[in-house]
């Protein structure tokens, strides 16, 4: 039994401590919005935010995150109102959608660190997550749009 803090709630999961966080979320807690793509840290579709930083949940042993704050796509907003989600809808980013949780959370982390990211910063950060459907051009646009939305909100 490992105790976790997921999306602001304390939960217990009955997987062994060395099991990756990914499977604890998906199979133990049924937060299936976090995806499996490669299991070895190469694709980024399993990305979650650990104390605000993007981590690859497929490589994160459950025991190492006990008690720390984990944010998954399900916890980003109750109603798709997070600026990154709104930007993603406005730019019509998703195709199959499978990689998008990882893309969105990676963008959230980038914008927390760089509220006005340069194109090079967007490219560098979002290259961490693969998309076989090729949503990259729209991801670039959506990150810029989200930055604009967040700046607007901060100003008002």
């Amino acid at each position: 039994m490992v105790e976790l803090q997921v999306n602001g709630r304390r939960v217990e999961v009955s997987l062994p401590g060395e099991a990756p966080l990914l499977w604890a979320l998906r199979d133990g807690l049924r937060f299936t919005g976090t995806k499996y793509g490669c299991g070895i840290g190469l694709c980024g579709v399993c990305t979650v935010l650990l104390d605000g930083e993007p981590v690859r949940s497929c490589l994160t042993p459950l025991a190492s995150v006990s008690g720390r704050s984990i944010l998954t796509i399900e916890g980003l907003s109750p109603d798709r109102s997070h600026p990154v989600q709104r930007a993603w809808i406005a730019e019509q980013v998703p195709q199959c959608g499978y990689c998008q949780s990882g893309q969105i959370l990676t963008a959230v982390a980038l914008l927390a660190r760089h509220p006005r990211p340069t194109d090079a910063q967007i490219d560098a950060a979002l290259s961490a997550v693969l998309c076989r459907c090729g949503t990259y051009p729209r991801i670039r646009r959506a990150v810029r749009r989200a930055a604009g939305l967040m700046a607007g909100e901060a100003a008002s």
Partner: protein, 707 residues
């Protein structure tokens, strides 16, 4: 509007939905009887108009990213004159009524979804609209001709009275099905031809979209399967003691494809498989490697193949001009859907439920029927979202595994493939070897063209009756239908079996053949000292669609304008699945690394149903094509596929993605395909730019240049 007889009137049924709504479907739908009879809500109805005005649509084709859920819903909703903001679309269950008219089966592939349902889907919508109008006219006691349907309401034009669809649904459901309906002329479309947001976007930004891997059933076990590491190997025996000792592992047993390890969750199943000791008979191909396969292809070329197209006299012209010969190689490619293969089955004595990310509902239903002995109506297929498909999910291997596991375990089982399973047990895009021969006359005109293809056949595996006398239509797609006016031309195909299983891969034969033909054409054009765009336009004098996309792409890309130092343009045009696409790539080479800066894409796909979705699919195709052009390939060594994960089978990343601009040729012809036709021109456009930069033709993929 044009009055059109219903193509399927004999089958169409109208019924009353639960709560008094209007239901339109086909007879297989349980619960829909003769017109006017009461019926409970049926999941097989194509469309349901609820009393509160909401409209539910069922879409037969699988949503795998291409936007088909939205596209087909638009066809129905436009003719229905539905209020788009109140339309919901869901995947249809497996049922004969949902067969794609172009394929006779419920299957998504060959870019046939919009093409196949173009007529029937609109008819179903038009029937709904006419019944609702009639119901309103009856209510008002006026002539139906004075009434007009608009955005979910019927309007009596002389008086301006209005009634909401929801209010009319119950009465409309009691009217007889009309003999013929009015279908809109293209200029009357209200949704079709205008970009509509995808219906599935909201679910895909909040983690709620359910993919195959997200299915969770009470009592479900997760299975991973140990499969032969060599192609064609066989199971000799296994020792499961250590596997069974892993906490969470529930069962270990052999199935057709290998040894299944079943557990409470994926992690335990994967640990169990690690602990499993399996004894494999490596089988007859354990010594095979890529070089040996290619030697077989070369032998196939030497023996000659069947003639798939011949005009003029190629043999005579060879002796009369400047002769150019080249060998082109195209490697095996994996699908690498972002969601690895998986399937969930719940087989019981009285029926079977399949939860599948599948492109092939009919085939999946039949797979389960064969394995369980259950009749068709007892096998229910629930299609989830597909985390990519690209042809891979028309296969039945993962379905068979899930059904066999559930039968043996006596409970719901989800079979999960790891990425390693997915890449090493794919059905790959065929590799081919191509001998090209061209002849130029004294004026530099191309007078002769010969293309000899050697390689394996997908159809020989999946539909052997379609390969007659060694002729295989898919292997020569994009080669036998070369669009250029060349007087002497011959295309041959030599079917060479290889131990690597091959399958449909986004754009199929055209994916290799457009690369080979468009690159060799640039070699001949260079030999003649001509311009690639100008010379193509001359050779396409009888092909107005090709000319138009080529002119559009070249114009928008600034073909012929000066480019920054070290950059060059490359061009290619290809027709596939009823559409024609031209692309111009702007490329540079930096320390041996090919960089694609910009791709301008022009597409003619007839009526552009949803322009933004077409844009999305062209962008998608460019990225998909660039991975195969620049990144990797599947190779075989000691009978094993060498690439096991994204370290050795890399996909294009965001920082390698060019600027992509899409231009759509306005069209009024019925729609062509959109999911695949953007792929074939990518590789040759980039390769031709590299040729322009280096002076050396690119005769094999992925592109490797000396640094």
């Amino acid at each position: 509007m044009i009055r059109a007889r219903l193509t399927r009137r004999a089958f169409l049924r109208v019924g009353v939905a639960a709560g008094g709504g209007l239901l339109i479907g086909f007879p297989w739908a349980p619960g829909i009887g003769e017109s006017g009879t009461r019926a409970a809500f049926s999941p097989n109805a194509w469309l349901t108009v609820h009393p509160d005005g909401r409209v539910d649509l069922r879409v037969a084709s699988s949503e795998m990213g291409q936007g088909v859920l939205t596209g087909i819903a638009m066809l129905i909703a436009d003719e229905l004159e539905a209020d788009w903001s109140r339309v919901r679309a869901k995947q249809a269950p497996a049922a004969p009524d949902f067969a794609n008219p172009l394929m006779g089966r419920q299957q998504t592939g060959g870019s046939t979804a919009i093409r196949g349902f173009w007529r029937v889907a609109r008819e179903a919508g038009a029937v709904g609209r006419e019944l609702l109008v009639e119901a309103a006219a009856a209510r008002w006691g006026v002539d139906a001709g004075e009434c007009l349907a608009r955005r979910g309401v019927v309007i009596h034009e002389p008086t301006g009275r209005r009634l909401d669809y929801g209010v009319l649904a119950a009465a409309a459901a009691r009217l007889p099905v009309p003999e013929a309906v009015f279908l809109k002329e293209p200029e009357e479309f209200r949704l079709i031809g205008r970009s509509q947001p995808r219906l599935d976007t909201p679910q895909k930004v909040d983690g709620s979209a359910r993919f195959g891997l997200d299915v969770r059933l009470p009592g479900m076990w997760t299975a991973v399967v140990a499969r032969s590491p060599t192609l064609g190997g066989r199971l000799r025996g296994f020792d499961a003691r250590a596997a069974r000792a892993v906490p969470g592992v529930r069962a270990v047993f052999p199935i057709e494809s290998g040894v299944a390890v079943l557990a409470d969750h994926f992690w335990a199943a994967a640990q169990g498989r690690e602990a499993l000791r399996v004894h494999w008979d490596p089988g007859p191909h354990a010594g095979v490697d890529s070089a040996a396969i290619e030697r077989n292809f070369a032998e196939g070329l030497a023996h000659g193949g069947v003639v798939e197209r011949e005009t003029g006299d190629v043999d005579r012209t060879v002796r009369e001009g400047r002769f150019v010969e080249a060998l082109y190689r195209v490697p095996y490619q994996a699908h690498a859907c972002m969601e690895p293969m998986n399937a969930t089955a719940d087989v019981r004595a009285d029926g079977c439920d399949l939860y599948l990310p599948t492109q092939a509902q009919t085939a999946s239903q039949e797979t389960a029927m064969r394995l369980t002995g259950l009749p068709r109506e007892r096998v229910r297929v629930h299609t989830t979202f597909l985390g990519g498909g690209f042809g891979r999910r028309s296969e039945q291997d993962f379905v068979r595994e899930a059904v066999q596991c559930s039968m043996k375990a006596g409970r719901p089982v989800q079979v999960v493939w790891s990425r390693e399973d997915d890449l090493t047990h794919d059905v790959y895009r065929p590799a081919t070897l191509n001998r090209m021969r061209g002849v130029l006359d004294g004026k530099g005109r191309i007078v002769s063209w010969e293309h000899n293809i050697a390689g394996p056949s997908i159809l020989a595996r999946v539909a052997p009756d379609r390969v007659r006398g060694g002729r295989d239509p898919t292997s020569v797609e994009g080669a036998a239908n070369l669009p250029y006016a060349i007087p002497n031309l011959r295309v041959t195909y030599a079917l060479v079996e290889a131990p690597v299983p091959v399958g449909f891969w986004r754009s199929v034969g055209a994916s290799q053949n457009a690369y080979v033909t468009e690159c060799f054409l640039d070699e001949l054009i260079a030999e003649a000292g001509a311009d690639p765009v100008e010379r193509r336009l001359e050779l396409l004098r009888d092909r107005p669609r090709h000319r138009r996309v080529l002119e559009l792409a070249a114009g928008r890309a600034g073909w012929g304008d000066a480019l920054p130092e070290g950059r060059a343009h490359g061009v290619a045009v290809a027709e596939s699945f009823g559409s024609v696409v031209a692309q111009v790539a702007e490329v540079s080479i930096d320390a041996g690394r090919v960089r694609v800066h910009r791709v301008v894409c022009a597409v003619d796909c007839g009526i552009a149903v949803n322009p933004d979705l077409i844009g999305q699919q062209m962008e998608s195709a460019v990225v998909f094509g660039l991975t195969a052009t620049l990144k990797g390939a599947i190779t075989v060594r000691a009978g094993r596929v060498e690439q096991r994960n994204f370290d050795t089978f890399a996909l294009l990343r965001l920082d390698e993605c060019p600027r992509i601009e899409v231009h759509i040729v306005p069209g009024t012809d019925p729609p062509g395909g959109v999911g695949e036709p953007g792929v074939p021109p990518v590789a040759p456009a980039v390769a031709n730019a590299v040729f322009a930069l280096t002076g050396r033709p690119v005769r094999s993929l992925p592109i490797r240049v000396a640094g």
